[in-house]
């Protein structure tokens, strides 16, 4: 996966590509794309984001969790 990517050069950060200027912690739909079904934050190697956007998304996810918009832990309902 990574090797094919390395040969082609790094993929461009999806957030930079959309020229996203403001990652909103209240937008749980968008944030949902960056968490696993378990509710974990996707690492950069999966999300493909640049360092700056990864940090912003991470912060936004943590705020969203605090406000009960997204779960801290998901998908273990018995």
């Amino acid at each position: 996966m990574r090797r094919a990517e390395d040969m082609r050069g790094r993929k461009v950060c999806p957030m930079c590509e959309g020229a996203v200027r403001n990652i909103d912690y209240k937008d749980e739909k968008t944030l949902g794309r960056f968490i696993t079904e378990r509710g974990k934050i996707l690492p950069r190697r999966i999300s493909g984001m640049c360092a700056r956007h990864q940090r912003q998304v991470g912060t936004a996810i943590k705020r969203g969790r605090f406000l009960a918009l997204i779960p801290y832990i998901a998908g273990h309902e018995a």
Partner: protein, 119 residues
């Protein structure tokens, strides 16, 4: 004076009227002699919570933007903490848009063909 954004989560038992009443009371701690102003109030209304907060499964969300001097906040937040109907709240400094990074144009490699098959 700074721009802030606040999200309140009130208990689900409250009606819109009661929420507005409380907000007015809280606003008093920011506006008037304290020199702040409320610039926007958005009632999201009742929403399912992603997990239980204080035994509740839903809450009444309100998002507000306001300008206020930082000194007014401790008093304001104390009032929020004292109100049992506020399940949770979050105040963040509203920094507006973040700087963009220019995106390098997608360069096509010379040997990149239409079929795009990777070995």
């Amino acid at each position: 004076m700074r721009d802030y954004e606040i999200v309140y989560i009130f208990g689900p038992a409250l009606e819109e009227e009661q929420v507005t009443e409380r907000l007015d009371r809280f606003h008093g701690l920011l506006t008037g002699t304290n020199g702040g102003e409320i610039t926007a109030t958005d009632h999201w209304g009742r929403r399912q919570l992603a997990y239980e907060v204080e035994g509740q499964t839903s809450g009444y969300y309100v998002v507000e933007h306001f300008r206020a001097p930082g000194e007014a906040l401790p008093e304001f937040e104390r009032a929020l903490k004292l109100d049992e109907n506020v399940l949770r709240y979050l105040v963040v400094v509203n920094e507006g848009d973040l700087p963009t990074t220019p995106v390098p144009p997608r360069e096509r490699r010379e040997d990149e063909s239409e079929d795009d098959s990777e070995g």
